[in-house]
């Protein structure tokens, strides 16, 4: 206990992870009826967590080896499950991201959620999420990671279904929970197989062993593939991707925090956490690459066909997650993590901006928002445009740098198809982002415009102030901070890379060098990379230009090329019929097949059997107590009989 206080690092780690839990408990038990107090407790806790995370980041910035604390938690025979903290560059970076975004979102929510009857509950769940996510991030073992992984899933479920009185929201919550659980079954099986075959689930040990080829390749591949199931569920990879767009039923800040910036990135985080482990299995890496690519392309097309503001960003989240998985699977450890970092920033920004529009105009349809004069909200509109530029990968916004890094890694792959897919994805991303932006900036039919066509021009500052006041600024300030981060973050690429790769566990380091992608991408020595750079930028610019042609310019029809291809538009809008397929599969194979069989088994055999046993037990009880009549003679006779039997047994 004393050691606990003597070691400030340990104390900070413990504080950062446990305070949100305490705040959740306090809010749920004591302060549920006092909204203001609940919010303050929650924000206070997350602020402390953020400070602790920053302190850890600064203190351990130049620590050579990962710092690990472990306490025995579960002991069963030879199996010891420790509980503790693993502090290395990756976990510190992620911890800071989570704490920072949580903090900003909670501050933002003060405005966004004001007046909601479930205000305290909302903050309790936010704290639950912060606790689970931060504890997950600094887990030293896969078991602990898995436990908090599931808790994060729970927080997600609760927050998606926050408006539980709304049918679609509670359905979406269930869908998210079930689909991610489906992936987690694979994850858990993989862990069990690994535990049985390898005997240790410590992250550092797993990575070392995989690097030293101490795990048999078959075991490695099998468990890596199964564990990837968890990534597929949590990070919404194909074919488990349709829950994420539905998850937008939750409050918008929740979408920003959980379903774009942090929670869904948990899958990617876990992938990079045991990156050396994965790189021990080329088969698993190839499969991950394929799945990431499919996900990215599919969801990009889906985003082109929807008119729901949040849905667009949701699909784009899925596609960017696919992009990160591609980067990691292609061997680009740094590129993947870097994209994760920048994406957390600009995607939270996009969602929070959308939140302001939704809060203002009470609609999710961006055509409607545009028509009602969305561009008059100058600050959010500028910030949203910055986010969209970052998302499309335009210099100097952060997305540009990370996208280049990822594409650079993909370019190192012998097979050019991955690079081409990546470029195609970049094109579509720019297209759908600016389709949305142009719809909002230049609505067809128009609004009463006060100034020029450029909504980003200053001069409308007075408009929002008379409308909103404190609530608006509560939301606008976090947005502006995020926008600033998005502008700046890209330039921190080299220090970040130095921090992550240069000082990471040796395994990760050598690998990143072997993969070579990230270095090559930043240094950009080879001609291939100039080519990649040029084509990526031209793709992004091309996408924007395409969107401009169709939606932006004055004579634009604002219909999009998909109008001419109704079949395809239908395909995209219905999410490639994935949901229909799943529905049909559930109805035919699961419900009318397996489920009904099991139900029958449950009703007839198990229930019937148990009922039978119970009735038999009770009946025999009646019989025994009936035999035990008050008649002494009979009783003594039984005694004599029993004694005689015992004697007979020995004489035989």
């Amino acid at each position: 206990m004393i050691a606990f206080f003597k070691d400030p690092v340990l104390l900070a780690a413990a504080l950062a992870t446990s305070l949100p839990f305490l705040s959740m408990a306090t809010i749920l038990i004591f302060t549920r009826h006092n909204q203001r107090l609940s919010a303050s407790i929650s924000i206070g806790a997350v602020t402390t967590s953020l400070l602790c995370a920053l302190y850890l980041l600064v203190t351990l910035h130049s620590a050579g080896a990962p710092v690990q604390y472990e306490f025995p938690w579960l002991l069963a025979d030879q199996l010891l499950i420790p509980f503790g903290y693993l502090l290395d560059p990756l976990s510190l970076l992620m911890l800071t991201i989570v704490a920072a975004v949580s903090f900003l979102v909670q501050v933002y929510s003060v405005g966004y959620m004001s007046g909601d009857p479930g205000y305290s509950r909302y903050y309790a769940f936010q704290s639950l999420f912060a606790w689970a996510m931060m504890s997950m991030v600094i887990s030293p073992s896969m078991i602990q990671l898995f436990i908090f992984w599931e808790l994060v899933g729970l927080a997600s479920y609760l927050l998606i279904g926050f408006y539980y009185e709304k049918w679609s929201a509670s359905q979406a919550g269930k869908k998210a929970f079930v689909m991610t659980r489906l992936g987690d079954i694979g994850f858990f099986l993989g862990l069990i197989i690994l535990l049985l075959g390898f005997g240790n689930l410590s992250i550092l040990k797993m990575n070392e062993a995989a690097q030293a080829h101490a795990i048999s390749p078959h075991l490695l591949t099998l468990s890596a593939l199964l564990i990837f199931g968890g990534v597929m569920g949590k990070s919404a990879q194909f074919p488990l991707l349709t829950w994420l767009p539905d998850a937008m039923e939750g409050p918008t800040p929740v979408s920003a925090l959980l379903h774009s910036a942090t929670m869904v990135a948990a899958g990617v985080y876990m992938f990079s956490r045991i990156f050396p482990f994965y790189s021990g299995s080329p088969e698993a890496m190839t499969m991950a690459l394929a799945i990431g690519t499919i996900t990215m392309l599919l969801s990009s097309t889906m985003a082109m066909a929807t008119y729901d503001l949040k849905q667009v960003w949701a699909y784009s989240t899925v596609s960017q997650l696919g992009f990160m998985v591609m980067a990691l699977a292609a061997g680009g450890y740094f590129a993947g993590v870097f994209h994760l970092t920048t994406h957390a920033g600009f995607k939270a920004l996009l969602f929070l901006c959308s939140g302001i529009f939704i809060h203002e105009y009470h609609t999710n349809d961006f055509r409607e928002i545009g028509r009602q004069g969305g561009r008059n909200l100058v600050i959010p509109m500028i910030c949203m445009t910055i986010g969209a530029l970052a998302l499309s990968g335009i210099f100097p916004f952060s997305g540009f740098f990370s996208k280049e890094a990822v594409l650079g890694v993909l370019a190192m792959q012998p097979n050019r198809i991955w690079l081409l897919a990546g470029l195609l994805g970049a094109l579509m991303t720019a297209y759908y982002s600016f389709r949305l932006i142009f719809f909002m900036l230049f609505p067809k039919g128009g609004i009463e415009a006060h100034g020029g066509r450029n909504g980003a021009s200053p001069g409308h500052g007075g408009h929002e102030e008379e409308h909103h006041g404190a609530i608006f600024w509560c939301m606008a300030v976090p947005v502006m901070i995020l926008a600033a981060i998005t502008v700046v973050l890209g330039f921190s690429q080299s220090p970040l890379e130095h921090f992550l790769v240069g000082k990471a566990a040796t395994g990760a380091h050598t690998l990143a060098v072997e993969g070579g992608g990230s270095h090559a991408a930043t240094e950009g020595h080879s001609p291939v990379h100039y080519m990649v750079l040029i084509s990526a930028v031209s793709m992004a610019v091309g996408g924007i230009a395409w969107a401009w042609l169709e939606f932006g310019r004055k004579k634009a029809t604002q219909e999009g090329f998909l109008r001419w291809l109704p079949k395809i538009e239908q395909l995209f809008a219905r999410r490639w019929y994935l949901d229909d397929f799943l529905r049909k599969f559930l109805d035919t194979a699961i419900y009318s097949g397996v489920t009904s069989l099991f139900t029958r088994n449950d009703r007839r055999i198990i229930d019937g059997g148990i009922d039978g046993i119970c009735q038999f037990t009770v009946a025999s009880g009646r019989l025994f107590s009936f035999l035990q009549s008050g008649m002494l003679q009979y009783n003594l006779l039984v005694m004599i009989g029993a004694v005689a039997l015992v004697v007979l047994y020995f004489l035989m």
């Binding site: 119970c614 037990t617 009770v618 025999s620 009880g621 009646r622 019989l623 025994f624 107590s625 035990q628 008050g630 002494l632 009783n635 003594l636 039984v638 005694m639 009989g641 029993a642 004694v643 015992v646 004697v647 047994y649 020995f650 004489l651």
Partner: protein
């Protein structure tokens, strides 16, 4: 001074004599008598605790004082103290009999103390009879003659039958071994244990203890006697009397050393039948005391599992279980006594609404029933765990499996009682129970002890281990 080792017995005898004196002269005064007995019993607990390290042989080896016996003497005096605690309102007994009640209670405890220390077979027999006769009279003391007298006579008849079997067993043992003390039997018995006459002699001898413990086939008295006797006496029979029976049974069986498969088989079969009969018959009961009688029979079966393991772990389990039975059963009876303020028998449905009438009693009842059912983290769980582990160590898997099934069955009727106390609403609104602060405190302490002993059983397990070592 060797007599100091005889301290608890002398003290208890003196206490009994004090009440004898009172009965000769003093005018009956319920409050004074209760306080006196409380004080005497409390001092008795202290005396027993003080004598816990005593060791030695007394009366030409007829009497053996060791850690095993001393631990049980502490339990017995504690049992007596607890019983006296709930004797504050003796409505079910005639005023002129009240002194006799206390005399018999103390004499019976004395007899049991002698029983757990007995070394000579006749010492054991005589102290067993002394305790039994005290109980026969105690049962018959109930004011309601139809109930009390009938129960007393039934108890008496079954008792003398069992003691007849026991005497026969003692004769057989003496005839085959020539030994009259347990110390000698330990030396002589193991080599010839497989002879039918020897093993029948041993089994007949322990029949007397089976009667006390209510093991099949000597269990028949239990339901009628629990139902027929007054609540306090039933509590005494269910706690202190069982503790003494476990002790002496373990002591005598331990003299068989490694034992023989026959012995184990017979004990195993008796254990299984006891558990099964007890648990099944308990399901159909409406009267709470009858239900507890059947549960006692089942618990006797569990204890036998430990004893038939014939090793230190098994005996230690039995010792621990004796402590557990003492606390658990007493707590339930405490609730019965408090609910039945006029001394009537309590039906299960009469517990309805108890959680509102007296939350602390309902809580104590729930904890003790969970403990009886063996749900962690309670004392009863640890006890069953130790017993089952000991039997598994000897490879008696089938026996443990059957016992486990029985535990599940028992959960059913215990939960029925808890359901009545917590979920059922009484037909007409009943006033809150008038429970004295002392009883409230006592039930709180008992509930806490049961949970604490389940969470941190190490100290008690060590105590039980040490006691069992003295036995071997």
């Amino acid at each position: 001074m060797k007599w100091m080792t005889f301290g608890p017995e002398i003290y208890t005898l003196l206490a009994a004599l004090w009440f004898l004196l009172l009965s000769l002269g003093a005018r009956p005064d319920a409050k004074r008598e209760h306080l006196t007995s409380l004080l005497l019993a409390a001092v008795g607990v202290m005396v027993s605790v003080a004598a816990i390290k005593a060791e030695g042989h007394l009366f030409v080896n007829a009497y053996r004082v060791d850690f095993f016996s001393q631990v049980f003497k502490v339990m017995l005096s504690l049992g007596l103290f607890l019983i006296v605690c709930i004797c504050g309102n003796l409505t079910d007994i005639r005023e002129r009999n009240r002194h006799d009640f206390y005399i018999l209670l103390f004499v019976c405890t004395l007899a049991m103390m002698l029983l757990v220390s007995g070394n000579h077979l006749l010492t054991i027999y005589v102290s067993l009879e002394l305790s039994s006769y005290s109980l026969y009279v105690l049962v018959a003391l109930r004011r309601d003659q139809n109930f009390g007298l009938e129960a007393g006579i039934k108890y008496f008849l079954v008792g003398i039958f069992a003691s007849g079997v026991m005497i026969f067993g003692l004769a057989l043992l003496y005839a085959t071994t020539g030994a009259t003390t347990l110390d000698d039997l330990v030396k002589v018995l193991p080599p010839i244990i497989n002879q039918p006459a020897v093993i029948i002699g041993l089994l007949f001898t322990v029949s007397g203890f089976f009667f006390k413990l209510a093991v099949f086939p000597f269990h028949i008295w239990a339901p009628d006697i629990y139902q027929g006797s007054m609540n306090q006496v039933a509590a005494y029979i269910a706690t202190a009397s069982k503790v003494a029976a476990i002790a002496v049974l373990a002591r005598v069986i331990a003299s068989a050393g490694e034992g023989s498969t026959y012995l184990v088989h017979v004990l195993g079969v008796l254990s299984i039948i006891s558990m099964t009969v007890g648990n099944l018959a308990a399901i159909a009961q409406q009267d709470l005391k009858r239900l507890l009688a059947y549960s006692t029979i089942a618990h006797a079966g569990y204890v036998l599992i430990g004893i038939l393991s014939l090793n230190a772990a098994g005996y230690a389990g039995a010792v621990y279980y004796a402590m557990a039975v003492l606390v658990m059963k007493f707590t339930v009876f405490l609730v019965i006594v408090e609910v039945a303020d006029d001394g009537r028998n309590v039906q299960i449905e009469q517990l309805a609404g108890l959680h509102r009438r007296s939350p602390i009693l309902a809580l104590a009842l729930m904890v003790s029933l969970f403990s009886l059912a063996g749900i962690p983290p309670t004392m009863g769980f640890t006890g069953k765990f130790l017993l089952f582990v000991a039997a598994m160590g000897r490879g008696y898997f089938t026996l443990v499996l059957i016992a486990m099934i029985n535990v599940v069955v028992s959960l059913y009727y215990y939960l029925l009682v808890i359901k009545a106390a917590y979920l059922l609403e009484p037909k007409e609104a009943l006033p809150p129970l008038n429970v004295s602060p002392f009883i409230k405190l006592l039930s709180g302490v008992l509930a806490a002890v049961m949970i604490a002993a389940g969470l941190f059983p190490y100290y008690l397990i060590e105590l039980a281990d040490a006691a069992a070592k003295a036995l071997m």
